[in-house]
Point group: C2
Chain length 309, copies 2
């Protein structure tokens, strides 16, 4: 049992899960003495400790991990239990790259798929959607994006069997003319596949509006999109907490503070002059922000005009 | 004067800007009669109306725009005023692609730069940072990313002359081994340039933590990162508003609702079994969420095991 918090997060979570799911049986894989101590006097019959001698370090490089023969590690041991059919699923907070490699070696891939993809749920106004890949496959050819679309469709069918999953491809615009070379080629593959219900390109600000059930992207783009979402959530939470701590402000004031018009106005850089693009949908307050941006640059025109050099 | 709201946003913003900046002079470019009507009885000596016959449609394709000889449009006319030195800056809420193309044709590029880049401020815990490109240059070679780094450095020097800008390259991890082929090659270029103060890769969830002043990426990735941030801000605001509307909840409760542990657990898809990766840093609540995710899939194991097919 690894992860940054080790047993301090996995043991309490396991005990809660046993209370929440009366038919659940859990196998805890790790150092037996440490687990027994963390469990205290608990002797739940539905809980089995599987001893392992070592833990794969969180920051270890996959190649180093494989060279060190990780068979005795808690991660390898839990995957082995899955392979043998002793357990029906594995949850790990350990080293992601090691988990992907050891899982592929141990339980193997399903026919037609070359490597595991990382897929997470993202909350939407209508429920949730699933995004993949999120970092396991950084340079993905269009054919891999089609694999992701099929994996996501299968996952969505498992989680929500009632409705066929709408699959979208993450891009910088919804029109077919948008996208980089990779997603334009992938779009054609996804459009012509009878196995998926493709609904076109999706922009990153539409994901949480519930317009798709599965969002497909390469691991580089997906990792950046997901972390941009997580980072914004964390940033807003921290800012709102400090606003609230300062003066005990009302929830209404917190919401006013989150006004998107506080940031507007993109610079067109590299030109011989100051040109600022205001968001097409901005109101008067947003447009005023864009004017202020232009004025800030005009104060010091050195970089914006050849004459100023 | 274009944009989705036309004069309804630009005129009130202009009048507020004149009050805020006593030495500002504004040239409003658009239909004279409509602008006069919107201005009402205002006869500010610092406000000049420049008549134009037409407006470039928001959704128009750039090629169509250029074929239709857009010289009489408000956008072309304002860029012409900039070229002639009548004004020192242009703010437009119009068609982005048309603005980039017409600006390049009219005022031209600074030496060494091939095409304009779109650059926006992103709020951070310590102030703001500037991200570019945001969609103008979708397929960017490493040499273009170096251009963006130089443009961003020059902008930051104009806005914050006191401190040299720290430039980071957006990637899916901070280690040099991370990144796709494009950013790994660009990293070498940026590292060896004496003109920029390069501080390595930055992950998308670190942008708002204030670790860089300029964040460089290609237009595809930047557009997705920025829209992921905007979409999350909008989503959270909408959800908090509906929470507040329902029961008039306190600001403390709104903040509790924004707990990042409500979403945790990534699926490793394509394997012959259920494997769920919990976030390394998640607490007990987050780990429990990951266990719940695994259980959801185990209920319907069809897609996860060859035996189930």
């Amino acid at each position: 049992m690894s992860g940054d918090h080790g047993l301090r997060s996995s043991i309490p979570a396991s005990l809660k899960a046993l209370r929440e799911f009366p038919r659940l049986r859990l196998h805890l894989v790790g150092n037996r003495a440490e687990i027994q101590q963390a469990l205290d006097a608990d002797d739940d019959q539905r809980l089995t400790i599987e001893h392992s001698d070592s833990v794969i370090p969180m920051a270890a490089n996959v190649r180093t991990v494989l060279r060190s023969r990780p068979l005795g590690s808690s991660m390898a041991k839990s995957l082995d239990l899955l392979k043998q059919g002793v357990v029906s699923g594995v949850v790990s907070a350990g080293n992601t790259a090691a988990l992907m490699t050891l899982a592929k070696r141990s339980v193997g891939m399903r026919p037609g798929f070359s490597r595991p993809a990382l897929c997470s749920a993202v909350p939407t106004t209508t429920g949730e959607c699933h995004m993949l890949d999120l970092g396991a496959n950084v340079d993905s050819r269009p054919a891999r994006l089609l694999e992701f679309a099929m994996m996501g469709t299968a996952l969505a069918r498992t989680l929500r069997p009632q409705t066929p999953a709408r699959v979208a491809l993450l891009s910088n615009g919804s029109e077919a003319s948008k996208g980089n070379r990779q997603v334009r080629r992938a779009r054609k593959l996804l459009e012509s596949s009878p196995l998926i219900n493709f609904c076109g390109f999706i922009e990153a600000d539409q994901i949480q509006q519930g317009q798709a059930d599965v969002v497909v992207c390469d691991g580089f783009t997906g990792n950046i999109a997901l972390k941009a979402m997580e980072g914004t959530g964390r940033y807003l939470r921290e800012q709102l907490q400090s606003l609230q701590a300062g003066s005990g402000v009302s929830s209404a004031k917190l919401l006013r503070w989150m006004n998107p018009n506080r940031y507007n106005g993109a610079f067109l850089l590299g030109l011989n002059g100051v040109v600022v693009k205001s968001h097409g949908g901005s109101d008067a307050e947003g447009f005023l922000t864009a004017i202020r941006q232009a004025l800030q640059c005009m104060k010091n025109p050195g970089m914006f005009s050849s004459a100023g050099e």
